[in-house]
């Protein structure tokens, strides 16, 4: 899995053989994720994607959602998955980012302390990984949220408080369509800021 130059890559940690070749099964997804991995700083984007897909799809809900939304062939008669598309995409992003950072950390670590073997994480289960990703994402989103325009922050905060569009509209003295517009623009603007912050390319 190492590159010709000898640098460790994302695949170095991958010891058990894959039961299914998710890289082929989700070829187009792998292509688009590979360009993302490169932007995130991976030295070997393909290996990073393979590792990220393997770990992502260990989560049954993620696998179910990926088969529904992204597989080349639509699973005929399949019910809608528990995870909506946005949860799947956020999960894939989080795992890929985690894998790329792991790869980069390992590269830096080995250059400095080459004689000490790399320790495996104590618990690499999907739940632990999800908690790690969520904690890290949450800090970034908090920072980006604070930089949003006040209107967007206010509307999104009220949504977080569980208010419906009509209730927000009454509270802010506007109409529901305006609230809906502010919600979508706020979310998309927040997404653009997170993208800029996490080095995902142009804003």
């Amino acid at each position: 899995m190492s590159t010709p130059g000898g640098h460790p890559t994302a695949g170095d940690r991958l010891s058990p053989p894959l039961e299914r070749n998710v890289f082929l099964e989700y070829r187009r997804l792998a292509d688009v994720l590979a360009s993302r991995a490169a932007r995130l700083g991976s030295r070997d984007p393909e290996a990073a994607v393979q590792e990220a897909l393997r770990r992502s799809l260990e989560n049954p809900k993620s696998q179910e959602a990926a088969e529904y939304y992204l597989a080349e062939e639509f699973p005929v008669g399949a019910p809608a998955p528990e995870w909506p598309l946005d949860r799947l995409l956020a999960w894939l992003h989080g795992v890929l980012q985690y894998v790329v950072r792991e790869e980069r950390d390992r590269a830096g670590f080995r250059r400095e302390v080459a004689a000490i073997p790399m320790a495996e994480p104590a618990d690499g289960s999907p739940n632990t990984l999800e908690a790690l990703i969520r904690r890290e994402t949450s800090a970034i989103v908090s920072d980006c949220f604070a930089a949003l325009d006040r209107d967007y922050r206010e509307v999104l905060s009220l949504r977080m408080d569980g208010l419906k569009y009509g209730e927000i509209a009454r509270r802010l003295g506007t109409n529901e369509n305006t609230v809906a517009t502010w919600v979508s623009r706020g979310v998309r603007e927040l997404g653009r800021r997170i993208r800029k912050r996490t080095g995902g390319g142009r804003e």
């Binding site: 187009r28 997804l29 292509d31 688009v32 360009s35 993302r36 529904y68 939304y69 992204l70 639509f74 809608a80 998955p81 909506p84 598309l85 946005d86 949860r87 799947l88 995409l89 956020a90 894939l92 992003h93 989080g94 969520r134 994402t137 949450s138 800090a139 989103v141 908090s142 920072d143 980006c144 949220f145 604070a146 006040r150 922050r153 206010e154 999104l156 905060s157 009220l158 949504r159 977080m160 408080d161 569980g162 509270r171 802010l172 003295g173 506007t174 809906a180 517009t181 919600v183 979508s184 623009r185 979310v187 998309r188 927040l190 997404g191 653009r192 997170i194 993208r195 995902g200 390319g201």
Partner: protein, 298 residues
């Protein structure tokens, strides 16, 4: 460089093939599963679209998680409050005195946090001779179908804001403001609402609180703790603190308003919110100090 530019334009054109309306609905979580699949399949051929969907998803999912987390937190706080009430109730009954003095400060007044210099705060910022924001005002002129009132941006109003018109304490209608000045505003008389000189007008509570918070933050930024406290006391007298704050300094300052109004439990909840909003170290120390004070029970 030229290729990159061309490629970017090409990607934008492809992204534009998916309507903004659909992207907006995706950002709000309104697409059906089949619509979502169709969009996801398009994104697999369009990296720029895939990026947009991914980062919108990251934003939306984090906000949704926070929404879910608020319930257990609120329930835990209520349970804790109920436990405190149960434990203290015999003592509280013995010690009860019908006093309206606020239950503040076992070791000093609440500490406000200063504005971080965002535009809204600067716009309504407290000048040395400025009056505080007001929740109610009056109609100062009615002429040629134009109505003027003595409330403005200083009081939290903005172009398009609606204020209630009251006569003899009864709401008689609502007017939408067209032109806003610092301490006054103007609009055309609304059909169906006969506004008269000296009718009262009332700022929506959320706007009034927003204005108070901005001015508290501005006073604090100037080091004028008395000015900030004065505005907070006025705001506390105005009723419920039903504004959803968005920053740690707003949460903290709302907590201070609640504390000055004598609502220690509400203040504690608001300070807790401030600590959950990831304040930087100096602000965190201030908020923790406020929280420790309201938690101290004597």
């Amino acid at each position: 460089m030229a290729f990159a530019s061309w490629a970017g334009e090409f990607a934008s054109e492809r992204a534009a093939a998916v309507s903004e309306e659909k992207l907006d609905r995706f950002a709000r979580g309104e697409l059906s599963p089949m619509e979502a699949r169709e969009l996801a399949r398009k994104a697999l051929d369009d990296p720029e679209l895939f990026e947009e969907l991914t980062y919108s998803s990251v934003a939306r999912m984090d906000l949704a998680d926070r929404k879910r987390q608020r319930w257990p937190w609120t329930v835990a706080l209520l349970a804790a409050a109920a436990a405190v009430v149960l434990v203290l109730s015999p003592y509280a009954i013995r010690q009860f005195r019908p006093s309206r003095a606020p239950l503040v400060a076992v070791s000093g007044p609440p500490i406000f946090l200063a504005a971080r210099g965002d535009s809204a705060t600067v716009f309504r910022g407290a000048e040395p001779d400025s009056r505080g924001p007001r929740a109610t005002g009056s109609v100062t002129s009615v002429a040629d179908g134009s109505v003027s009132i003595d409330l403005g941006s200083l009081d939290g109003l903005w172009k398009g804001a609606e204020v209630d018109v009251l006569r003899d304490g009864q709401a008689i209608g609502r007017i939408k403001l067209a032109t806003i000045f610092r301490d006054r505003a103007r609009t055309e008389a609304a059909p169906g609402v006969t506004v008269r000189l000296h009718d009262s007008v009332r700022v929506p509570r959320a706007a009034s609180l927003r204005a108070a918070l901005d001015q508290i933050a501005a006073f604090s930024a100037r080091g004028d703790a008395d000015g900030a406290r004065r505005v907070a006391e006025q705001a506390a007298a105005g009723g419920r603190l039903d504004l959803a704050a968005t920053d740690y300094e707003d949460w903290n300052n709302l907590g201070a308003i609640a504390e000055l109004g004598g609502d220690r439990l509400k203040a504690q909840s608001l300070y807790e919110h401030a600590l959950h909003a990831n304040p930087p170290a100096p602000a965190r120390a201030t908020i923790e100090s406020n929280l420790a004070r309201v938690q101290a029970v004597k």
